[in-house]
């Protein structure tokens, strides 16, 4: 009977491994996010940048290009006011994006940023961004949305040119626009 006892213990241990690996599958989600942000993989940028102003490095100039893309089934007009600006690392710069809801219903949108080349993502800080919140636009409404950013002084020297790309998703179905009372 010793044998069946040890079989029971073995099965319990193996079942614990199964449960742990099921948990590990879910643990991959935060691990992935941390890795992506730590190493700037996939061009993922961090949230709002809190640190103070850096000194401006006027000896160096970096070109920042802007892209605005609609995800599938998104009908808004969405574009940056300028295609490109030249900035000095450490300097705080603002760019304005325009969004317009041409439909006859209120809609909610979420913009997801990405920076290329991906190794530059960790050096691109956004102090203010419309992507930190969701946008609700009434039928026919047009808004201007600012993004304020600092290119880090420690940006690798071989990066002279980087791209900030936004993809705009229609999330009306999951986040219905709240009826705006008292406006």
């Amino acid at each position: 009977m010793n044998e069946s006892l040890s079989t029971r213990r073995l099965v319990i241990r193996l079942s614990l491994v199964v449960v742990a690996m099921f948990g590990f599958g879910f643990a991959l989600v935060p691990i992935y996010d941390v890795m992506c942000q730590a190493f700037g993989i996939n061009g993922k940028t961090a949230g709002a940048y809190e640190a103070g102003e850096q000194g401006v490095d006027a000896s160096r100039q970096v070109r920042v290009q802007f892209l605005a893309t609609n995800a599938a089934d998104m009908v808004w007009e969405f574009r940056p006011m300028a295609d490109e600006v030249a900035v000095h690392p450490g300097d705080s710069t603002q760019m304005v994006f325009v969004a317009h809801n041409p439909t006859d219903r209120p809609m909610t949108a979420q913009a997801i940023p990405s920076v290329a080349p991906s190794k530059a993502a960790a050096y691109f800080h956004k102090t203010e961004c419309f992507c930190f919140t969701q946008q609700v636009l009434q039928p026919g409404e047009r808004i201007e949305m600012p993004v304020r950013f600092i290119v880090d002084r420690d940006l690798p020297a071989d990066v002279r040119h980087l791209t900030l790309a936004y993809t705009l998703f229609d999330i009306t179905a999951s986040k219905p626009p709240v009826a705006q009372v008292g406006q």
């Binding site: 193996l14 099921f22 599958g25 991959l28 996939n42 991906s118 998703f169």
Partner: protein, 530 residues
């Protein structure tokens, strides 16, 4: 009943029950041989079903343009063919072989957890009925490829995807229970004297496979659970709009998916390591190195998954790491291939059907391994990715690898299972038809793939027409030949020549010490292993 002269434990038989009568025998059975038989028949049925879908695919690709099916249905065929072959044909076949052979090889009376064994088998018909039934639902069945990448399988999936998710859950539970059972059997029920390093290699490879299953099937379950939550409960694991990431899906999936490909090949390594020595009439060359090589392959399988994802945009250091780690797998695999070759070297070889399949396994699996090395070269992979070269690669490791390994095992142990010899002439015919058909079907895919033909597309450029027609003819030949295998097995059961307890003179192992067919109960008193 044939009069079997039983030299082993004959007195013990009188007070044991034989199989129960009628249908309920199969529903309620806890006998490892019954359950093994059911696994094998189930797997063969799924092999024919998945094969029929492959025939639809090859019929559509016989000529350029759309002739037979619509692209929507074509997508369902490629998806279901992959899912059914992986989860319905190859994996259950190996579990069936494990059920039949592991207790016989280690001198155990049965599996350690016989009732769980019954349950893990009967989950499979439920899972696959559910999955196949999605083909008849509105909107069709899964059409997103067997890798079911999000968002194809979430945002853009047909309604039936929920049934697919539950089917994957069920087959995952079945595999996990089967694996726990195998580990418990091997670790606890070995006959006295059967130390770990005396175990037949099939038992070793299955022990390692079982650990792989226990480690990665729960990750697959987690992956489909996240899909389920994204689809129905408003989470955004894989949806970029909500802050998730579709690339995360690929990481989670391939963390399961890469060990999965070794789950489908390691037991075949073990079977071939039993068969080649038997027909070369020499002991296996390098037994210990085989064990360590298998364990190394299993370990490496956990750190190479992103080689499926070279083109999604991972950093250069990541590409380098996964490239070198992947190439490292060639070392233990090479150890195995050279050991098999050394076993055959200067052996007194004869080429009965199991040996033919095993020799073909060694040669053709090596070809598949080499194309895998080509794919492992990250900069070159950008050219090969998602082309027919990939299709050629994994069919070369799975068809002459896993499937030929299963055929070799089936022919090798059929006399033990049925008590009859199969028809050697027909068996050889089955081998040669399969060998020629399989190479005709898959070898040209290397060329069209290198020339840029994308996979999973029902139409193609005119310039690929000739090679595709050759592929289709080969595939039809391979497919039709498998009906011959069915005939051979039925003929063997019904009217084969009676088989001796040890029909292969070079064979080694405890399974040959019991009569053929193996009695319903074996090793009630453990054998002595010296």
């Amino acid at each position: 009943m044939s009069a079997v002269i039983d030299t082993h434990g004959h007195a013990g038989h009188d007070h044991h029950h034989g199989p129960a009568k009628g249908l309920m025998r199969w529903v309620l059975t806890t006998n490892h041989k019954d359950i093994g038989t059911m696994y094998l028949w189930f797997s063969f049925a799924m092999f024919l079903l998945g094969g029929t879908m492959a025939m639809v695919i090859r019929a559509e690709l016989f000529q350029p343009g759309l002739q037979i099916v619509q692209p929507e249905f074509f997508n369902q065929m490629t998806t279901m063919h992959g899912l059914i072959m992986v989860f319905g044909a190859v994996m259950p076949a190996f579990v069936g072989l494990a059920n039949w052979m592991i207790p016989l090889m280690i001198g155990a009376p049965d599996m350690a957890l016989p009732r769980m064994n019954n349950f893990s088998f009967w989950l499979l018909p439920a899972a696959f009925s559910m999955m196949v039934s999605t083909l008849f639902m509105e909107g069709g069945g899964p059409n997103f490829g067997w890798t079911f990448y999000a968002p194809l399988s979430t945002t853009y999936a047909p309604e039936s995807v929920t049934f697919f998710i539950f089917a994957v859950h069920l087959m995952g539970i079945s595999s996990i229970m089967g694996a726990i059972n195998v580990v418990a059997t091997i670790l606890n029920l070995r006959a006295p004297g059967m130390t770990l390093m005396k175990m037949p290699l099939f038992v070793w490879t299955w022990l390692i496979t079982a650990f792989l299953l226990i480690a990665v099937m729960p990750v697959l379950a987690g992956c489909v659970t996240m899909m389920l939550m994204d689809i129905h409960f408003g989470t955004s694991f894989f949806s970029a709009a909500g802050g998730g990431d579709p690339v995360l899906f690929q990481h989670v999936f391939w963390f399961f998916g890469h060990p999965e490909v070794y789950i489908m090949i390691l037991p075949a390594f073990g079977a071939v390591s039993a068969i080649i020595p038997a027909f070369a009439r020499k002991p296996l060359f390098g037994y210990t190195s085989m064990v360590y090589a298998t364990a190394s392959i299993a370990f490496l399988s956990f750190i190479v998954w992103a080689h499926h994802m070279f083109t999604v945009g991972i950093p250069l250091t990541g590409e380098l790491f996964f490239m070198y780690a992947t190439m490292l797998i060639a070392v233990p695999t090479g150890v195995k291939v050279f050991n098999w070759a050394s076993t055959m070297w200067q052996g007194s070889m004869t080429f009965e059907t199991p040996m033919l399949f095993s020799v073909a396994f060694v040669i053709l699996f090596t070809i598949g391994g080499f194309s895998g090395l080509m794919l492992a070269i990250a900069p070159a992979d950008f050219q090969y990715h998602d082309t027919y070269f990939v299709v050629a690669h994994f069919h070369y490791v799975l068809v002459p690898g896993a499937i030929f390994g299963i055929f070799a095992s089936a022919y090798y142990w059929l006399p033990k299972w049925t008590g009859h010899m199969y028809d050697e002439t027909l068996g050889k015919l089955h081998f040669w038809m399969s060998f020629v058909g399989m190479n005709m079907a898959f070898f040209p895919m290397h060329f069209v793939g290198l020339a840029g033909m994308p996979r999973r597309i029902p139409d193609y450029n005119m310039m690929f027409a000739n090679f595709n027609m050759v592929s289709s003819i080969g595939a039809f030949m391979f497919g039709a030949t498998q009906l011959l295998f069915l005939f051979i097995v039925i003929k063997c059961i019904r009217s084969g020549q009676p088989a001796a307890a040890k029909p292969w003179d070079g064979a080694e192992g405890l399974e040959w010490t019991v009569p053929s067919p193996a009695p319903y109960h074996t090793f009630q008193t453990p054998p002595e292993v010296k």
